[in-house]
Symmetry: C2
Subunit: 450 residues, 2 copies
């Protein structure tokens, strides 16, 4: 029973503590595995990135423990720091999952906490999956309650809401009761941080990773008896109002256990800004229809104001390319693909990509809905070929298939040189609900010591 | 030279990197020692509190390292977690120092970072003192730039600004250059958190302690090569604006190195809310003038609106008593003192204190400035004795003497049963600028293994 006067953290704590594996539909259970598989591939893809190397070096010097494994690496760390490193790795490619209503990347702050604590405390596969779903649900609902103002004001919502999800998931794995789980989330409220101003820098990854670590710590402190204000989330000097929003508390608690925000999670087929995906799909459609890139005279891309605001920009580097209409067109038409290689420095600087980007213009089409795009290519022979995409691959309406997520995972795993074979990892994720522990998953994800 | 277009984090980074021990006046150097001594006493007083016990238990299980000592305790931890525990202890009594313009408690988030990193890296006493002053200065200036809106909106300013101070101080001890120091602060911006809604709970201490830990980590990541947005503090989607204030950037950078906010630090003589201090001093004055508590018929306290808003309240527990006009009168008149014992549960529930509190009424006197109070006692023989205090002991105008800070430290040290002798600790603090390392200070502060 819902009680309108019950503070949000305590209501969410009760939801997390009282929900069991049997309460999750088969579709939700499967979505959890898809999210984890997608995350694991992203983390493997970045496992040897200098940003991850540096994080491991700093944190190995701090911690002498070896309780938890690192994805794609041979080292082990304490649970808090292991979760930090795995979250850095999983988020670094900007290729992880997206809850489109909030633009939260749900898995990066939550699953690293689950993986580390489940390994430390010997929890089963179903316990890990359940904790992950509940953490991600709490995270997305808290995000809904303050969207879209929260992100627009400068808060990096994956980090600021992720800490609640990591706290809730950890509390579930620790077996905390309803009240202690609520206090874990209320303690997490005093740890919520992360700025859009830092989005283009490594400080973004610190923010997401700190959410995983701080969520773990909030739950461990709640387990040890620390308490916080029950109204830490929605109170007059609490989280939402301090951050600038009067929270819509209905989004936090209405339909808990029946309406699942986590069920709306999506996975990117391309490591580009999500609003670029319709542009890419339209170009791939034209190419598949027989368009030869040498025939392209000029390209006109039409879309809504958001597409133009985000994507009509000069390209100086790889980060620009990920949010450039011009570069997305060049990649899809030149290579028939828009994977990690198409957004890497070598291809971004390729003279053929530079030349094709120069042929692209973008214009507003107020009649097109958000996320849609029309691409019109004029050829050297004077023809005009047009494709319009309303629901790109990876959207809620056209989700990636399991096979496509597996292929993405294999492609990402090949990036890092970690030596991790993705086949047993993919197998371990799909088998997670039959595993007595997360040990097999961890073993499949970590690198052998070379 | 100041450059108006230089981003705040980078300007502050340059200030921290370029300021040397020789740039600190003798008064500043001495104020640093006074702050450290006051902090050490507060931390000793709480060293065996259950909140500290629990923090040590949680963090010992995470960390296997022993790089840094804990004040008043025998255990050792890694630097990040040691700083966390020492910050919890130093802030727990609500008896630490106050920068009155911002209500920041400057030392609790900054000095624990300095102590741990100086021990780890073998830094000298002057290096530790310099890093501490610079960190505290950055912290108070960033607080000034968003005060008073920041605190009023729900941000616990000691935590939210403390993380910048801890980052700056750590960066100084690590020997980072100007740019890397700026990036350490810009990374810290993405870690700034802490809520007024949680002020009455242990989550407050987690917030202050996390500021110390996260400041250390921000600097260690900057040392390892992580970078952030130079405009993380004042940019359009940066720290100040996301948190709700258009920052007054002049407060950040004007007069750096000549006008020192840290010089305005103050120390509480009583573990009560600061606006209560004039009430206590007026009562002590009356008692010293010969007033006998048995003669008291009724007590009228007059002050400004803030005094009444904060202090005219029923007393149910120790936390209420710390901000109760009625209890502060009872303590000062009954005991001639307002120390930790006078705000402990036993005395708060003492029938004589309960009876005297019932004789106290409070009323507005709009003619009195903030921080002042008048106490008028009517006696059973019909006399009225009156005292007015404008600048209580511990204010900027009437600071605690060194001898009074020493006495406070001895009294606090006696509270915890840590077994730490305050005499050599006091000696080590005064001698810190002549110490080749912080080793003697740490040795004097930690408890022997029993």
């Amino acid at each position: 029973m819902s009680d309108a006067s019950e503070p949000a953290a305590m209501r969410l704590g009760r939801f997390v503590a009282e929900t069991g594996w049997g309460d999750l539909t088969p579709a939700l259970r499967h979505e959890a595995k898809r999210s984890i598989l997608n995350f694991m591939g992203c983390a493997l893809g970045s496992a040897r990135d200098p940003a991850v190397d540096r994080a491991v070096r700093v944190l190995m010097a701090l911690s002498g423990r070896t309780d938890a494994g690192l994805i794609g690496r041979p080292e082990r760390l304490d649970v808090a720091n292991a979760a930090f490193v795995n979250a850095v790795a999983g988020n670094l490619l900007d290729y992880d999952d997206t809850h489109l209503a909030t633009v939260i990347h749900p898995t990066a702050p939550v699953f690293p906490a689950v993986l580390a604590i489940a390994e430390l405390r010997g929890r089963s596969g179903t316990e890990a999956l359940l904790a992950f779903v509940l953490g991600a649900e709490v995270e997305c609902r808290i995000g809904n309650s303050v969207s879209p103002g929260h992100y627009d004001r400068g808060w990096h919502i994956t980090a600021t809401c992720g800490v609640f999800g990591a706290a809730a998931a950890t509390a579930k794995l620790l077996g905390l009761d309803a009240a202690a789980t609520g206090h874990a989330m209320a303690i997490a409220a005093s740890q919520s941080a992360g700025l859009i101003e830092n989005l283009a820098t490594a400080a973004k990854n610190v923010g997401v990773a700190a959410a995983a670590r701080n969520g773990i710590l909030a739950a461990l402190f709640a387990e040890a008896g620390y308490r916080a204000s029950p109204t830490a989330i929605e109170g007059p000097r609490g989280w939402a109002i301090a951050m600038g929003d009067r929270p819509r508390t209905g989004e936090l608690t209405d339909g808990l256990g029946t309406r699942w925000e986590f069920a709306r999670n999506t996975y990117k087929p391309y490591p580009a800004g999500i609003v670029m995906h319709a542009v890419i799909d339209a170009c791939l459609e034209l190419r598949a229809g027989g368009l030869k890139v040498d025939e392209v005279s000029d390209v006109r891309v039409r879309g809504d104001a958001l597409l133009l605001a985000r994507g009509d920009r000069p390209v100086d580097n790889e980060r620009d390319a990920q949010v450039s209409i011009h570069h997305c067109v060049a990649a899809a038409l030149l290579r028939g693909a828009a994977g990690v290689a198409e957004f890497a420095a070598a291809f971004v600087a390729d003279p053929r990509a530079v030349a094709l980007r120069a042929k692209v213009t973008a214009e507003l089409d107020a009649g097109l809905p958000r996320g849609a795009a029309t691409v019109a290519v004029k050829t050297t022979s004077g023809r005009t070929l047009t494709a319009t995409v309303h629901h790109p691959l990876g959207s809620e309406q056209k989700p990636l298939s399991d096979t496509q997520i597996e292929a993405k995972t294999r492609a990402n795993a090949a990036l890092s040189g970690s030596g991790v074979d993705p086949a047993p990892l993919i197998e371990a994720v799909w088998a997670l609900d039959r595993a007595g522990s997360v040990g097999a998953l961890v073993q499949a994800a970590v690198a052998r010591r070379s």
